[in-house]
């Protein structure tokens, strides 16, 4: 009996460490340069902010959802599905959940979604209880879910933030043409991201 316990302890100790590199989900080529691991590390929370936050978030998850991951969209009824589809997100694996703006329910919903989805795209409501958020953050890490926080992260802490800036539109003139392409500079910052920036072109 003692031997069994010792053995169990030993296997715990010699078990190969899973490197962060192995627990990533893929990211499209134009944004992959921002991540030292080459992809989104499972269990981390990434914020997307700035004038092109939604498009950047969709571009960020496109490769993962294409590869078979499911995405839950919490409290974002305004998400533009045509844009998602154009950025390469297959709509078959998107599920939207609404919480009606109740902070306690939001925590429950995100925790439940963490059990079944690989990617969460969320907007954080204000007034979240701090203790519940800490527990939730732990759960998101344990379940190895990639959480993308759109806009103000509020009580949630992000491992990294992608800030979009300097958008340049082309195609639209003074009374003629139509929007064809937008270029934004995506600036990465935060604990777990490289301090780099890259250009993201959003076009048809």
């Amino acid at each position: 009996m003692e031997l069994a316990v010792d053995l169990a302890a030993l296997t715990q100790r010699v078990a190969p460490v899973v490197l962060a590199r192995e627990r990533t989900i893929p990211v499209g080529a134009d944004l992959a340069g921002l991540f030292a691991e080459g992809g989104l590390v499972r269990g981390r929370t990434v914020g997307c902010q700035g004038p092109a936050a939604t498009s950047t978030a969709l571009a960020l998850v496109a490769a993962a959802v294409t590869a078979g991951a499911w995405m839950a969209v919490v409290d974002l009824p305004t998400i533009g599905l045509d844009a998602a589809s154009e950025l390469g997100v297959p709509l078959e694996r998107i599920v939207a959940v609404g919480t009606g703006g109740d902070p306690a329910r939001w925590v429950d919903v995100v925790a439940a979604a963490a059990d079944g989805f690989d990617v969460l795209l969320v907007r954080v409501p204000s007034g979240l209880p701090a203790a519940a958020v800490r527990k939730l953050a732990l759960r998101l890490r344990q379940r190895e879910v990639v959480t993308i926080v759109l806009g103000d992260p509020g009580a949630m802490s992000c491992d990294g933030v992608l800030h979009t800036d300097a958008p340049q539109w082309s195609g639209l003139g003074d009374g003629h043409g139509h929007l064809r392409e937008r270029r934004v500079v995506v600036q990465a910052s935060g604990r777990r991201l490289l301090r780099r920036s890259c250009q993201l072109a959003i076009s048809a």
Partner: protein, 545 residues
């Protein structure tokens, strides 16, 4: 060679529209994904056909009432019909609401032949239910094999009396029929039928005349399936087996479930397990017997048939239909539900090798799919069914119209293919008048009010001829509401704009008529907006975010 079983089919034409409560003399149609799935006789005389698009339908029949399809409603309303047939022969299979098959052998001997049995069924089923269904006449067909029998039932509706194909006559009966029946009954893909037609195989007999080996070599398993049906040799495929009794799965609920969502949750687990264990053997269930028992011992047992095989979510859907129908029974019926559900049992009654569907490289359903399906069920119980939604393509000119969020519980998540819309086109090609891509990433279901001003600070106007009164120079957001008054935000200079792109929708319907003009606008801080002018008021309909 096996002789196909003699099958009676009872078919109610356009059941969804009957279930929705429309009398035959009112023009109405039930729509799903922008296509007609069923229409009343009055609409049919105006040229509305199944599969037509919404706009074509409205052009042919402007006064038509269109409602959305609801499979649960169909199933609920169908229960009295199933019960009526069950009085004549209890061993019946429900294929879908509006379509029942049963074996002819026993009942036909009891009632003295196929013709008396068919007449009896037709008499019993005519005029059940309310006034709407009084003029509803079901088609009853008897033939060898399900396929011939289903065609006979549909012909019976046109002819107004039961159609009986004598024993052994099914191949001759099928041979003269157009090949399109394979598609009508959902046995073959439209592409395959179109290919057959292009190759000159216009009748089922033409296909049956080919050698089965050649058909297999050229068209694979779907071709052989079509060939077998066309030949009238509609026996069970040789790979069909009656599964061992241990395949049966049941769950006793120690704490009887009073809510249907709890029962569906249990059924979901059982169905996943059943479909998983069958799928691991490369098999699929074609007939499933669902038994529900209440804590007071009332039982509801029903057999569901689907020739293409039942996926886990199709099984759950059938359990839900059966449960809803049971709950909806009028008081005082036989086996009326009086307590919570204590037992759910799924018995696969007939399984066959799953040769028709092409699985993904790593199997049909990945672990991620299964986990997501469980999480969706959990989220539905945590919030409400309507709060957990998935997108369904609908189409339209404004971004907010193009997709609809429908409750995930209503959708078969395995069989779904939402569009991969590219450059303003949906699954059915380009949508005339839609805006070119890139599309806005934030779409407001309720547009934000806004003021658009010219250089002198005057509100901009769009004329009836689609001209703007001046160059738009300023955009100013409004906050507040009609009751408490509107507050104006900071004016933001417009640096680039285009438009107006006018839209006029449903001018023939005064209450739903819309007339608006769309603009794309970029402000000095490089925010792009889709701005809409309607009734001399301006709204932000979407943001290029």
């Amino acid at each position: 060679m096996d002789i196909p079983q003699r099958i009676v089919t009872v078919w109610f034409p356009d059941w969804p529209v009957v279930a929705a409560g429309f009398p035959v003399d009112v023009a109405a149609a039930v729509m799903s994904a922008n296509r007609v799935v069923a229409r009343t006789a009055a609409a049919a005389t105006d040229g509305v056909v199944v599969g037509q698009r919404r706009r074509q339908t409205q052009r042919r029949c402007p006064h038509i009432t269109l409602i959305d399809h609801d499979a649960d409603r169909d199933a609920r309303e169908f229960e009295p019909m199933v019960r009526a047939v069950a009085e004549i022969s209890p061993r019946l299979d429900v294929v879908e609401p509006g379509w029942i098959t049963l074996r002819a052998l026993g009942p036909s001997r009891y009632f003295g032949g196929d013709a008396p049995l068919a007449d009896r069924l037709a008499d019993r089923l005519t005029g059940i239910g309310g006034a709407e269904t009084a003029s509803l006449i079901p088609g009853v067909g008897v033939a060898d094999g399900r396929f011939a029998s289903s065609i006979a039932a549909r012909l019976a509706v046109r002819q107004g009396h039961p159609v009986i194909v004598e024993a052994g006559e099914s191949p001759a009966f099928c041979a003269e029929l157009p090949i399109g029946w394979l598609q009508t009954l959902g046995e073959s893909d439209p592409e395959l039928i179109e290919l057959f037609a292009r190759l000159g195989l216009r009748r089922l007999g033409d296909l049956a005349a080919l050698s089965a080996v050649d058909v297999l070599g050229r068209f694979g398993h779907p071709g052989v399936h079509a060939h077998r049906l066309a030949s009238g040799a509609d026996t069970r495929p040789s790979s069909t087996t009656d599964p061992a009794p241990e395949r049966r799965l049941d769950q006793v609920l120690d704490d009887p479930a009073a809510q249907s969502s709890a029962v569906v949750f249990v059924a979901k687990q059982l169905a996943d397990e059943l479909a998983g264990s069958l799928g691991a053997d490369g098999r699929v269930c074609t007939r499933l017997v669902v038994l529900l028992e209440s804590e007071h011992g009332e039982r509801s047992e029903r057999s569901w048939y689907r020739s293409a095989g039942l996926t886990a979510s199709a099984m759950v859907e059938r359990v839900r239909w059966q449960l809803d129908a049971w709950i909806g029974l009028p008081r005082g019926s036989d086996q009326e539900l009086t307590g919570g559900i204590a037992l759910v049992r799924l018995t696969p009654d007939e399984v066959r090798a799953d040769e028709g569907s092409q699985l993904g490289l790593w199997g049909g359903q990945t672990e991620a799919d299964r986990r997501a399906a469980r999480a969706i069920a959990r989220l539905s119980t945590l919030t409400s069914q309507d709060a957990v939604t998935v997108p369904v393509w609908r189409g339209g000119r404004l971004p907010a119209d193009r997709y609809e969020w429908v409750p995930a519980a209503m959708v078969d998540l395995d069989q779904r293919a939402v569009s991969r819309a590219v450059s303003g086109s949906g699954p059915t090609g380009p949508w005339p008048g839609a805006l070119p891509s890139p599309s806005p990433a934030t779409v407001f279901a309720d547009p934000h009010p806004v003021e658009v001003l010219d250089e002198h600070g005057e509100s901009l106007r769009v004329t009836g001829r689609g001209m703007v009164s001046a160059r738009p120079a300023m955009l100013r957001l409004l906050t507040g509401d009609d009751a408490s008054g509107w507050r104006r935000g900071r004016p933001r200079p417009i640096v680039a704009w285009a438009g107006p792109w006018p839209v006029e929708e449903r001018w023939w319907e005064p209450e739903r008529h819309r007339r608006l003009a769309r603009f794309q606008v970029v402000t000095d801080d490089h925010d792009g907006y889709l701005v809409v002018a309607e009734h001399q008021r301006w709204w932000i309909s979407a943001r290029y975010d």
